[in-house]
């Protein structure tokens, strides 16, 4: 009180929030994400028209919806990116708890939209897929637990996070949604890897997977046939994958022209899982490569920035968020070019979908919050003593 009255305490200890945010944010990554969202809208103009006409709506109904949800997503992303890591952690843990409860409630009040898997809550005007919102929160919880386990006398964070991961994977597999379950498991694995998983354990797991894969291939004819079917260059052209491949080939390097594509009329998932095929057909390889480059930039830049990060929580959370963001894009595009077996997975920010785009906004916002520039004791590093 005395200090305030006599003015010995500075009225502001830090610079204002917005200028500091603008100075420390990873502007390249943020720009890339916004460009991706823009491309998503552009492709939506082409890809969602058939869906709208099938459902008897005006042609650009879905584009408007996507712009609306995308606007929310961008706002959420910017808002979260302005938070401090500690704030992100608090919000993330609470968000995880909410999403977890929501997933547990799914079997009772969820809906399956006639697709055989109960993954959605339906609210009339929109539907929400809670597992999309679970992922960023999950990564933050895992990173928090693992970072805490580094402290002397800290909690057994690795074990606890593994237990949580198993429960979540189990819940997702029950829906069933093996794609999201695999993604969650992958997210945990990446965080654990960067948190310093023992090399022997990694070697053992990799060895087991390889040996198990070969053993399954040799012993089980069913498994071998599936693998052979995936590896075989022949493809039934009437499957979704066949259409997607054909669309990429039709597009060539420069595309058939805006609005001229055919694949969107034959693929039921042209606006979500196979939007990259629409991009390839109408705009050609050029746009596809641009999209790939944008994702690569976000992921690789974030990871590179995190290599300098001193705080374990920030580093681990950032890594996990960047990786699930990147892997989701990778799987989506890998399926379209038949590098990976078919698995429904949206392309973050580009695919149509309200939950999907807002969840991607949350993920990206948290990621941007983690990759902001902070004082990292660089001088201490240079002098080799780390400030001691």
């Amino acid at each position: 009180m005395t200090e305030m009255v006599y003015g010995s305490m500075p009225s502001r200890v830090t610079e204002p929030v917005l200028p500091r945010w603008w100075r420390t944010i990873d502007k390249w990554s943020m720009t890339c994400i916004m460009v991706l969202f823009g491309i998503g809208l552009l492709l939506g103009l082409a890809a969602s028209v058939p869906l709208a006409s099938r459902n008897g709506l005006e042609p650009f109904y879905y584009v408007q919806r996507q712009a609306f949800f995308g606007g929310i997503a961008m706002a959420v992303m910017l808002g979260i990116s302005m938070m401090t890591p500690a704030m992100v952690r608090r919000v993330g843990v609470m968000g995880f708890a909410l999403a977890f409860v929501a997933i547990c409630l799914l079997p009772f009040i969820g809906t399956d939209f006639g697709k055989g898997a109960v993954r959605w809550f339906s609210f009339g005007f929109a539907s929400v897929q809670p597992s999309e919102f679970l992922k960023p929160g999950f990564i933050i919880v895992v990173a928090w637990l693992m970072a805490a386990s580094f402290d002397l006398n800290g909690p057994p964070g690795k074990t606890a996070s593994f237990a949580i991961a198993m429960v979540v994977v189990g819940l997702l597999a029950m829906q069933p949604d093996f794609g999201q379950a695999a993604l969650v498991l992958f997210g945990w694995g990446v965080v654990y890897f960067v948190a310093g998983a023992p090399m022997t354990l990694i070697a053992i797991v990799v060895g087991l997977v390889v040996v198990g894969g070969f053993a399954a291939y040799e012993s089980s004819e069913h498994f071998a046939r599936r693998i052979d079917g995936f590896l075989t260059p022949d493809l039934d052209p009437r499957t979704q994958l066949g259409y997607a491949t054909n669309a990429i080939q039709e597009g060539g390097f420069f595309g058939v022209g805006v609005g001229e594509g055919q694949v969107k009329w034959s693929l039921p998932d042209a606006h979500t899982d196979f939007i990259i095929a629409v991009a390839a057909e109408e705009y050609g390889l050029i746009l596809v490569l641009v999209i790939i480059a944008l994702y690569t930039t976000v992921v690789v830049r974030s990871l590179m920035r995190l290599t300098k990060e001193r705080d374990p929580f920030i580093r681990l959370a950032g890594t996990g968020l960047a990786c699930i963001f990147g892997v989701q894009a990778m799987i989506n595009m890998g399926v379209a070019v038949r590098l990976l077996p078919a698995k429904g997975m949206t392309l973050p920010f580009v695919s149509y979908g309200g939950s999907s785009v807002i969840a991607a906004g949350i993920t990206a916002g948290a990621l941007l919050a983690m990759t902001r520039m902070r004082p990292q004791g660089k001088m201490g590093d240079i002098f080799g003593r780390g400030g001691r």
Partner: protein, 595 residues
């Protein structure tokens, strides 16, 4: 490891002396230690993060490269119109030695459905049930409407059926071209050909793979695209095969046998000219294997190759040939044939408890088929040399003929050779082999003492296999076998002009309860012809035959297998191009004329 205390005593004491709070020292040390841990963690994470970045970079580059690759290739029509080009006659035909077709391919169509494109699934299901009686309209409608996008309905169908499916006129019914394996001769040579079925199936084509017989044994050759245009030429002769199967089938019916097998083989080249096993099946519509009971009762069972039987007295000639080859006896040597002969606790008897003794020439041992005489000759030879001789004739290993069933038919050979085994195997008991083994061994006698490898492929030349006996021994054995047909146990098999030689064999079948069944026998006649220059071996085996024309049922080979074999030779020899040796007309019918 040296433990650094968080509260070093010296500093604590000095702090206390100065009146400072010693806890700050602990907090300070804790902070420093955490910072150390963080730095260590960061150094490790830095490498791993770089590794992750590289991983992502590589993965995204791969996807980009793959996109580029795809974009650079020419697109194909989704519903490939050029599907016909993929349906090449990829499986080679099979022909007999004269180029007559035994197996070929036929273009047909498979029927599948895409229920999403279907206008009226209920009507389609009802119409399909009218065309294909095995389809249940209710179940089919359920399958067409349960949300699946693809459904196979028929693998193959006739052109008439295809036309009627066309006439249903539903866009959801589609046809996929199929190559189908066709055996135009039906049951002829069924066990040699085996059969074929579809392997991996796609909409526009399906691979045809062999399931049994030579189709499976030579599957790789038949599917080799480089040799698809060249038919696989078998050593079989279609005409002979038809004759053999016809006579064998008649014989089997007349003699109430439950099965029969015949092998006709060229003794020099080892080529199988005819291989029959009855009952047969139609390889176009291969029956399912039996799920219970004896697989040997299934028509799929190839008795000539897979059937491993005790072949009885047909083995006696091997014992005698071995003894002659070793110089122990000659055809004229007299041996002890006093029956019954006791050996330890066993008694060796002759057929119907006869006694050919006390002494019998070696030739007559064969002609009269004396068990005791053969046993005594075998004891002269000894176990070791007898086993070695059987092995050299191929009785210890599966035959190497080009049938997928052959390697599985291992002969049953005694593990040890005490004297009693030497005795029983000398007349073909206690050792089991297939008719194919017997044909190979008789071919060695017939061709002058050289073991041949049997083959089903045409184009064989005289084989130069290992010599198993001297030419003299072989010639003497053939003379004895001729004697069997001239005035021994196989007189019914004498075909005028073709000098049949051979040996009968009647073996009681081992019963399931142990011991032997007296009224269940396997009758075998192993023959070779013509005796003055043997060219062919014919082995005929009948399973459980009984000849009932006499006052009591007769079950010896001389009454069953021998007449069947004789009839086969009568029909086959002219087809083989053999010239009958005709007696010159009697001299007194001519009148000497002088000019």
């Amino acid at each position: 490891m040296i433990r650094t205390p968080l509260r070093p005593l010296a500093r604590i004491l000095s702090a206390r002396q100065k009146g400072e709070n010693p806890d700050t020292i602990e907090r300070e040390n804790l902070r420093l230690r955490h910072e150390e841990i963080r730095d260590r963690g960061r150094a490790r994470a830095e490498v791993r993060l770089l590794f992750l970045s590289l991983g992502f970079l590589a993965a995204f580059s791969t996807i980009g490269a793959r996109m580029g690759l795809l974009a650079a290739t020419e697109p194909v029509e989704p519903r490939s119109a050029a599907a016909g080009a993929q349906i090449l006659a990829t499986r080679a035909d099979i022909t007999d030695r004269n180029g007559r077709i035994l197996a070929t391919n036929m273009q047909t169509y498979a029927l599948y459905a895409q229920p999403r494109d279907m206008v009226d699934p209920g009507r389609v299901a009802r119409e399909l049930a009218k065309i294909f009686p095995e389809i249940d309209p209710v179940a089919m409608e359920r399958r067409l409407t349960d949300g699946r996008t693809f459904l196979w309905i028929r693998r193959v169908m006739s052109p008439e059926q295809m036309q009627r499916v066309h006439e249903i006129g539903d866009p959801g019914l589609l046809f996929g071209p199929r190559e189908m394996r066709l055996y135009p001769n039906g049951q002829l040579a069924a066990h040699v050909l085996g059969g074929a079925s579809f392997g991996a199936e796609g909409v526009s084509s399906a691979e045809v793979i062999g399931t049994a017989g030579i189709e499976k044994a030579l599957d790789a050759r038949l599917r080799d695209p480089a040799q698809a245009g060249t038919p696989l030429e078998l050593s079989l002769d279609l005409t002979l095969q038809a004759a053999v199967e016809e006579i064998l089938g008649t014989g089997m019916t007349m003699l109430n046998a439950k099965g029969a097998a015949a092998i006709l083989m060229d003794v020099k080249t080892g080529e199988i000219l005819s291989l029959a096993s009855l009952p047969a099946f139609d390889p176009n519509d291969r029956p399912n294997p039996l799920v219970k009971g004896d697989p040997g009762d299934s028509p799929l069972f190839n008795r000539a190759v897979q059937g491993v039987y005790e072949l009885g007295s047909t083995f006696k000639i091997f014992t005698v040939a071995n003894a002659m080859n070793l110089g122990l006896v000659s055809p004229e040597t007299m041996v002890d044939a006093n029956a019954p002969r006791r050996w330890g606790k066993f008694t060796i008897k002759e057929f119907q408890n006869k006694n050919y003794g006390p002494l019998l020439s070696v030739e007559n041992v064969i002609v009269k088929s004396s068990n005791v005489g053969t046993a005594n000759i075998a004891l002269m030879v000894g176990a070791e040399r007898q086993a070695a001789f059987f092995q050299s004739l191929g009785f210890f290993d599966p035959t190497v003929i080009e049938l997928v069933e052959a390697p599985g038919a291992k002969p049953i050979v005694p593990k040890r050779w005490p004297d009693i085994t030497t005795i029983t195997t000398s007349y073909g008991h206690g050792i089991s082999a297939s008719p194919m083994h017997l044909a190979v061994a008789y071919a060695a006698i017939a061709n002058g003492g050289v073991k041949v490898t049997p083959t089903l492929l045409h184009g064989g030349v005289a084989q130069n296999g290992p010599r198993v006996m001297t030419a003299e021994t072989a010639a003497a054995s053939v003379r004895m076998l001729r004697g069997v047909v001239e005035h021994g146990t196989a007189t019914l098999g004498d075909v005028p002009g073709y000098q049949v030689a051979g040996k009968t064999g009647t073996a009681e079948k081992p019963s399931r309860t142990g011991g032997y069944d007296e009224d269940k026998v396997v009758n075998t006649f192993a023959s070779l012809f013509p005796a003055d220059d043997p060219k062919y071996v014919l082995v005929v085996t009948l399973d459980e035959p009984v000849e009932t024309s006499g006052s009591e049922p007769r079950r010896t080979a001389g009454w069953t297998a021998v007449p069947v074999a004789g009839e086969i030779i009568r029909r086959a020899a002219p087809l083989l191009g053999l010239r009958p040796v005709v007696e010159p007309p009697p001299v007194d019918g001519l009148t000497a004329v002088s000019n």
